[in-house]
Every structure is written in C-alpha cells, then in structure tokens.
C-alpha cells in the first residue's frame, strides 16, 4: 500500500517534499489512470503520493498590474468561469477533455505532465507565462518554456512544488486558437495553433505564435515573430513565406497511433498560413 500525504498547508507540503521523494498529485486526472496496472484496479505508485490539490494557497486566481496569476491547483472549470481570465486564455482550456474531467484537472498538472500534446502549453509559451517553484528554503521563477525540457520532462526538483502560474496579459486583438483532435470534443490533440497579435493603426505591435503536438515540446519562435513585429501592415503579406520557412525547420512531428507526421506537418502549416494571411484585413487599412 502506498503512503499518501495530505498536508494541511503549503508549508507542510514543502516539508514533506524536502524529506522524501514523492509524486505530486494535483487533480489526478492523469495520475489516476497512469498508475493503474494493465489488469486494472486502483492506481499504485512506487513512491508516496503528496496531495496538493486541496491546498488553498495553490487555488487562487488574481489579476494584478496586468498579470494574471493562477494557482496551479485551480481546476480547469474554475479557471474557465473566473471573470479575470480573458477569453484567449480560456480558449485552449475549453478544448481539453470533457466537463467531468475539467472539474478535477488542473493547469499545474497539465504543465508538469509536459506532454508534447499538452493543450495549455502553446498558449502558455506564446504568452511568456512564468511559473513559480518553491522549496522549503527557496523560491525561483522561470518561463514555462524553459521549465519543460522534453516530452514528460521538466526542471522540477525533487524538493520543489509548482506554486504559481503567471500570465502577463495584453490587449491582443487578433487571437486565434485551433485544436485538431481525434474527435470534435474530448480528444487528444493532433495539432494545435495558438496565435495572438496586437495591431496598431499602422503596424504589427506584437505577435505570438505557438504550435502544439508537432514537436517534442510546444513550439515558439521569436525569430519568426520578429519577422513581423514592428512591420507596417502593408508589408505583412510579403513576409508570410519567410515565417513559414522559419517554422519549417522547427516542426518535427511523429507518426503515432493518433495521426501521421505528414498530416501534422501539413495541417500545422495550413493553420499557420491561414492565420497569417488573414491577420490583416481590408478594414485595417481604412
């Protein structure tokens, strides 16, 4: 029987984390399945489980100075109905799993799972989201994009817990999110695109693009974004191919049981081109 810890507060949780190797358990929507035997039954793990999903310190949502801070153990449902969360942050969460799973799954869990197909990750990469990691004796923050180092791999140390997720918000005007899954809803992502742009009357002020499920980690390219940032609107159309070429070397999908690499590559480029070609419309020139 595996020992499970249910600390009363974050301080106690960190103390446990410092004292022994544990598996951090937030919502459990992934762990409760992954931990099962091929023969079924309840999940079992070879390390004690540290329950953190109930800790109030990890379940708050605040908006302060243009930065949205989401507790890692907020369920996706709670994030979806919180008024401080803008629609472009909600969009990828709406496409995750199903209503009953969203009622227990957490954003922190999605980040720490670090799946190449993790639905929240392109959005978090594109928006330069940062996470806070705490141990008993230290705090550090880093970008989500730096925290995740490979499929299922993160920089989380054995004595750390993910304690905060911060997303700097901006008034993006051209936001686009599309997930192509194995089903119209409640499917695993085959390809996803998150893009957001801020346009002024004459220029592209900011551009963020991130692709999911087409590489070992979510893809973002500042080189590609820089090609269009600060450009006058009329010049955007000419640069679309260069942006696509930039991504061409980065997109590296695989064949697996859900889809083919050819499909993922083709659709990723179709979505990217579609976004870029429709970024500037007639009205923007008036």
């Amino acid at each position: 029987m595996v020992t499970a810890f249910r600390p009363v507060d974050l301080r106690e949780a960190l103390a446990v984390r410092a004292g022994e190797r544990t598996i951090v358990f937030a919502g459990g929507s992934d762990l409760m399945v992954r931990g099962r035997s091929i023969y079924g039954g309840a999940p079992r793990f070879n390390l004690p489980v540290l329950m953190v999903g109930h800790l109030p310190e990890l379940r708050e949502i605040t908006l302060d100075g243009g930065v949205l801070t989401i507790g890692p153990c907020c369920t996706l449902s709670r994030i979806l109905c919180h008024e401080a969360v803008p629609s472009y942050v909600r969009a990828p969460l709406l496409g995750m799993a199903s209503p009953p799973v969203r009622n227990i799954a957490t954003l922190g869990g999605n980040i720490c799972n670090a799946s190449p197909a993790g639905d929240s990750l392109p959005m978090l990469y594109a928006l330069d989201a940062r996470i806070e990691l705490r141990a008993t004796d230290r705090i550090r923050t880093l970008k989500v994009a730096d925290f995740i180092t490979g499929p299922g791999r993160t920089l989380l140390k054995e004595d750390e817990i993910l304690t905060g997720i911060s997303i700097p918000l901006a008034d993006f005007s051209r936001v686009y999110y599309r997930k192509v899954g194995t089903r119209r809803a409640n499917g695993i992502s085959k390809v996803s695109l998150f893009a957001a742009a801020k346009l002024s009357a004459s220029r592209v002020e900011a551009l963020r693009i991130s692709l999911g499920a087409v590489a070992p980690m979510a893809l973002r390219s500042r080189v590609a974004e820089n090609m269009l940032e600060s450009l006058p609107l009329e010049a955007v159309a000419r640069r679309v191919d260069a942006v696509k070429d930039c991504f061409a070397s980065l997109i590296n999908p695989i064949d697996d049981m859900r889809s083919s690499k050819e499909y993922r590559r083709t659709v990723a480029f179709n979505l990217l081109e579609n976004y870029l070609c429709n970024l500037i419309s007639e009205e923007d020139f008036s």
Partner: protein, 711 residues
C-alpha cells in the same frame, strides 16, 4: 398508426433508470471470488514455461489442465481452445485464470507471473497470409474458408465487348465498445453449474459449458443478466470467459465473478472483420451493368470463429440492391495472428455495401450519368431473383425510398459544385442497401431450429419463454407487445424475464435481426393457438420454426433464398470538409427505411439512431490499427467512439410496407441502420473533395492524402 406501433413504456425502464438493474459486476454473493485472466503478449509463439509466484491461501490458478471435457470451443472447425495450451496465436489469447477473494491482490499476483515464449513468425495481414507458402496457422491452408458461387453466365461472350470498371476497397477493424465490459458469474452447487451474465446467446454458452465440462446438459444452466450493450460482441465471445468462470467455480467450490477491464476487453475480444473487396463490372452500350465479378477477402484472425458465416453474408449481399445478371463471387477468410474477428452488427454487410455503393457511384461518374438515375435503373423489384437465384416474393420499395430521401434532403440540388459559402468543401452522398433478416441460408432450419414456449397460468396471466436476450434493443417489450396484442389481453398480464435455459427453449441466438421477425412470429403463432385454447386452465404452447414453403436453399451450391426476408433502406449524409485540417463535419443525416411495420415506434427510432451513429463512427472516426498483432488503440482515450457533439440530429422516415411473414407486418431491424451509414458518409466526402474514397474509416489523414494525390 396501428395499435402495436404506438410506443409504450419499456418494461426494463424503471429498473434501469433508477440504477437498480443488476449487471454482472453488480452481483454480490457470499464467498464470491474474483478472477482475472493472464493473456498472451505475443501474436504467435510456443509457451516454453510459466513461472507462477507463490500464491497465498485462497488464491488458485485455473488453466487447460482443469478442463474435464474438451479444451475446444464449439465452432465450425473446432480449432480454438478455451485456454491456450502450448501455443498462442494472438495477442490477448487467454492462458490461465487467477482466482481469489481480493481483486487488488489478484492484480498484484498476476503482474508477477512470468511467461517464457519461443516466438514464431506471425502472419499479420491478409496479404501476408495470401503470399505465405509455409508457416500456416490453420493446418496447411492460408484461409479458413474459400468459397465461390456464380449466378447467370458470368463467362458469356457479351461481356467481352462491354466497358469494364474496377475498384478495390479496404475496411478496417471496428470495436463494439458496448458500455458494459464482458462479465460472467459462475455458481457451482449440488444441481450443477449455473453461469449468468452479460450475453446475447445463453444456449451458445450452454453448449460451450457442456463441451468443456463434459457433464450432462441437465447439470448446466445459463441465465442472462441485464446486459449493457452487445452489438454482436457478446454473441460468440462470452462462451470463452463463461467456461473460464465455470471451471474456476468448480475448482474453488465458490462462486466466481469474471469481469473484464476495458483495456482488456478492447485488446482481446472479437472485432469487425477487416476486408479487401475487389469489384469488376461490365457495362453495356445502354449503360446497364450486365455482369460483375466480386472478390472478397477478410481477415478472420487466429481462429475460424464465425468467419464462414460472415463471409457468406458478404458474398450473398455483394450484388447490392441491384439486379445484375452474370455474377461471379469469390471469397476467402484468411487465418492471421490477429485478434479473432467475429460478429458485429451488420455481420459483413457494412463492408460490402461500402464497396458496392461506392463502386456504382464511380461507374456513374465515369459515364457522366446522374448517380441516382443510374442506381435506380438497376434496382431490384418484386419478382426479380437475388444474387443467389432466390425470388424476391415481396414488394421492394427502393424507388419510393430514394424519392423520399431526395425530397427530404434535397440531394440532387446539393450535389452541384456550389459550396456552402464558408470556405469549406460541401458534399452529399447517398447509399441504398438491404439487410437479410434471419440466419443466412438454411441456418434457421438446420442450425437453429428455433423453439418458443408460451405458458398460460390459472390466473390468466401469460409468460413468454424464449432464449432471446434483452440487450437494449427492447425485446422485453416488443415480444410482449406481440403476444398481448395477439391474445388481446392487457400487456401487464404478460410476463417476460431475462432468459434462463432451465425454463426457456432454444429460440436461437439474439442476432441477425431475427428476434422480432422470427422469434416474434413464432410467439404470435403460439399466442394464436393459446387464444384458441384459452379456456383451459394452465398449459404450455410450444412452436418450432418451419422453413417457409415458398423458399428454398441449397447449402452446397449457394442457390436459392439466402434469407427469409429483407429489410431495405437508404441514407443520405451531407458533410463539410475543412480544407485546412481535412476534418469532416456531418451537417445532415437522412434515413428512409422499410422495416415493415414498427412494433414500437420509439424502440424502432432508438435502434435506427444508435445504429446510424455506430455506422458513422465506423465510416469516419473509429480507427483501430495493429502493430505486431496487438491493437494500438486499446482504450477509450485512444479509440474514438462518437459522443454527443460529433453528429447532428437526423431525419427518419419509415416506409409503409408490411411484411406478411412477420408478426404484425414486421421485418428485421437491428442491423440495417448501421449498414448504410458509412457508405453514405464516404460518398459525401467523395463528393466534397472530388477524390475517390477507397477505404474506411475515412479519416482526416486519409482525406489529406487523397487531396494531395490529386486523383
């Protein structure tokens, strides 16, 4: 509408809505033990050794050595063991059962078993089986069944001057994904063994138990419990876990509950036959198909199972709804080291109608003809003969079906090049099809010989005793309606519970769309006799199936009436294909069916809607591939079954065409709705993207490849 069609509250409703119906996994008995199965992880191998961990008190292993009778599942060739003995032929083949009082402990112990295999070269595809010169799985043959027949004169000279059109189609596996996994419960007592659980065919299970235990029939009893969906997946398969559970109950002398985990169920239970179908049609100068050759190859998996009957149904249906003289049909069911293919709603027809409907559409396209006109021209009519030379004795309303579909869907108008105007590629497709109701060929009279029992009690209540099982399709309600209406008694006075082989005669399996049409008709006949004798106190009436006099069937030459009757139908499906992602959105579904008189309009609608959705899933989203013989998508996360957001509501119409040979005019219904959905979807996609669809399921990945190829 006729009285009988008017919907009533289902008799199994109250129990199910309250969560009170006890399915197999819900039953708790004193001293009950649990059981889980150790299965092969190799597609083909010799078992060199099995290392068993030390077992605590109360835990025991059950395997082939515990079979007092014969370790052979009753089947056409008797080629499949209940427990693998020495060799394994597919991933998931059962090797042994571990039984004990604690489920978690069973799992932990099973994880510690070590099976040492000596791997053998597996045969993994139809092509590999066909090309193999040695290393056969089934004796010295690559296929379990090689069949052929012809109609008319397929070698006649006039075909040489005709235009020739050929097509080849492939279809993949489909998993039943009934919501309730397989479950059987065995209790051993002084009277013998009683096995209850989730099943379609209590007598198939009884036969398997007699074989495995070698006991007299009187000591073997099978009772159906509420069953959470089946669709053919609980037709022949449960005989194996039923025997496992029974052997365990006998050895342990305690009740044994064997319930599958979902992943296990998806891995090792029967699936729809993958197929490769080739068609070659000869078309004369009048644009009439005057000859056709059809070759059907199916993947039977590791054991013969029901593949012979599936192959037959495919071969007898491959003419489609068309009157084509000079037909030549060949078929093979190949032995491979894949999971055993078996019964699944439609039983081969979904594969074949996809092929024939797409082929006919392709011919019309090549000849620049309106496809509806082209198909109509060839429609079968009353008095025509079928592909096996049997006369269609009853009115066939295909023309009316197509006209109704055209009216309801606006098919012809929507066929044109004008898109939906939203950047998507719009398309619409239609398919016409039939389903032979009842067992193929002489099965009803030679294999099944259905028998029903109707009992009248002194208090004037009546009870139905048949082996037909309620699997969601409403048989606990429809059969009662037939009897009550015939006897003209209040339906509340007619009793009918889940079948028990101690009480119910063998009315045959709950398959082949036969329950209302054949068993229901026998009950009606029994009720008519009961009505004549109503004044007698308490008595039983038995009726046995008699092959209709006006029909004939020769099982050696495959000539005559392959089915006692047919149900007919047409589907139209409209789609929008996203040119960026190649995803398909179904925007409309229309269905017009001739299933004779509906015995309950709500139950009929439920069967139609559920069947169509299963067919659309089969056509567009249910992908199950294998690697090294193991299904890759063996979980509900990975195998995409339609959910409430995948398809829009559908429009349904029933044709008024009562069948005089069915109770109150009813034909069979259960399978027809699934048969025609995938063809209509495939043709809609074909219309939308302007490329020929050649395989099912038509996934976005396949659509992308087709569009890139620029056919």
């Amino acid at each position: 509408m006729d009285d009988i069609s008017r919907p009533i509250r289902r008799f199994d409703f109250d129990e199910k809505i309250a969560g009170k119906a006890l399915y197999c996994a819900d039953v708790r008995l004193d001293n009950m033990l649990h059981a889980k199965t150790l299965r092969s992880t190799k597609a083909r191998a010799r078992i060199v050794s099995i290392e068993t961990p030390p077992l605590p008190e109360g835990f025991l292993v059950v395997d082939a050595g515990d079979i007092p009778g014969r370790n052979v599942v009753p089947g056409y060739y008797d080629d499949q063991p209940f427990f693998a003995q020495g060799t394994v032929n597919y991933v998931g083949e059962p090797i042994l059962l571990l039984v004990g009082p604690d489920k978690d402990m069973i799992i932990r112990l099973l994880e510690r078993f070590r099976v040492t295999y000596e791997e053998m070269k597996p045969v993994l595809t139809i092509e590999e089986a066909e090309g193999a010169g040695e290393g056969f799985i089934f004796g010295d043959k690559s296929s379990f069944f090689t069949l052929e027949y012809s109609n008319g004169d397929p070698d006649n000279g006039s075909l040489h001057s005709a235009r020739i059109f050929t097509d080849e189609f492939r279809t993949g596996l489909q998993e039943h994904a009934y919501l309730e996994p397989q479950g059987l419960l065995a209790v051993y007592g002084d009277d013998g063994i009683c096995v209850s659980g989730s099943m379609q065919c209590p007598y198939f299970i009884k036969e398997a138990l007699v074989r495995a235990l070698g006991w007299p029939e009187e000591r073997i009893r099978v009772i159906q419990l509420p069953t959470g969906g089946a669709f053919g997946g609980k037709e022949e398969y449960p005989s194996i876990p039923a025997v496992h559970a029974a052997l365990a109950a006998v050895k342990a002398r305690k009740p044994v509950s064997l319930v599958f985990d979902r992943h296990e169920d998806m891995l090792c239970t029967t699936k729809r036959h993958p197929s490769v179908i080739r068609l070659k049609s000869y078309v004369d100068v009048n644009n009439r198909v005057i000859g056709r050759e059809v070759d059907i190859r199916i993947d039977a998996g590791a054991y013969a199972g029901l593949s012979g009957v599936v192959l037959q149904r495919m071969m007898f249906s491959c003419g489609g709804v068309y009157d084509v003289p000079n037909l030549k049909v060949t078929g093979k069911a190949f032995a491979t080291n894949n999971v055993v293919s078996g019964a699944f709603r439609g039983f081969g027809a979904p594969q074949v109608f996809f092929a024939i409907e797409t082929h006919m559409e392709n011919i019309a396209g090549a000849l620049n003809l309106d496809v509806m006109e082209f198909k109509r021209r060839h429609f079968l009519h009353k008095g025509d003969t079928s592909s096996t030379g049997g006369i269609f004795h009853n009115e066939i309303k295909l023309d009316e079906i197509v006209s109704a579909l055209e009216r309801m869907s606006g098919y012809s108008r929507k066929r044109g090049p004008t898109g939906p105007g939203n950047g998507k590629l719009g398309g619409i497709g239609f398919a016409c099809f039939f389903h032979g109701c009842g067992f193929t060929g002489s099965g009803e009279s030679e294999l099944i010989r259905a028998r029903v029992r109707l009992k009248k009690y002194q208090d004037n209540t009546v009870e139905i005793f048949v082996s037909s099982t309620e699997i969601g399709q409403g048989s606990l309600t429809t059969l009662r309606k037939i009897v009550a209406r015939t006897l003209e008694v209040p339906i509340e006075t007619v009793k009918h519970t889940y079948p028990d082989t101690d009480e119910c005669p063998d009315s045959g399996p709950t398959v082949a769309s036969r329950t209302v049409m054949i068993v229901g008709r026998l009950l009606r006949e029994a009720a008519l006799e009961m009505k004549r004798r109503w004044d007698e106190d308490t008595f039983d009436v038995f009726r046995e199936f008699r092959f209709p006099e006006h029909l004939a069937w020769d099982n050696k030459t495959f000539r005559g009436n392959a089915y006692p009757e047919y149900a007919w139908g047409g589907n139209v499906v409209s789609v929008e294909v996203d040119p960026l992602t190649f995803e398909v959105e179904v925007t409309g579904i229309w269905a017009v069916y001739d299933i004779g008189a509906p015995v309950d309009e709500t139950i009929v609608r439920g069967q139609i809607e559920g069947g169509i959705l299963q067919g659309l899933g089969y056509g567009g989203m249910e992908v199950m591939q294998t690697r090294d013989g193991a299904p890759l998508q063996a979980s509900l996360t990975d195998y995409a079954v339609p959910n409430a957001l995948d398809f829009p509501p559908m429009e349904i119409m029933l044709m008024d065409n009562p069948f005089s040979g069915g109770p109150f005019g009813a034909r069979g219904l259960g399978e027809l709705p699934l048969v025609g959905a995938a063809p209509a979807l495939a043709l809609a996609i074909q219309n939308a993207i302007g490329r020929k669809v050649t395989q099912l399921p038509v996934t976005p990945e396949i659509i992308m490849e087709m569009m890139k190829r620029g056919d």
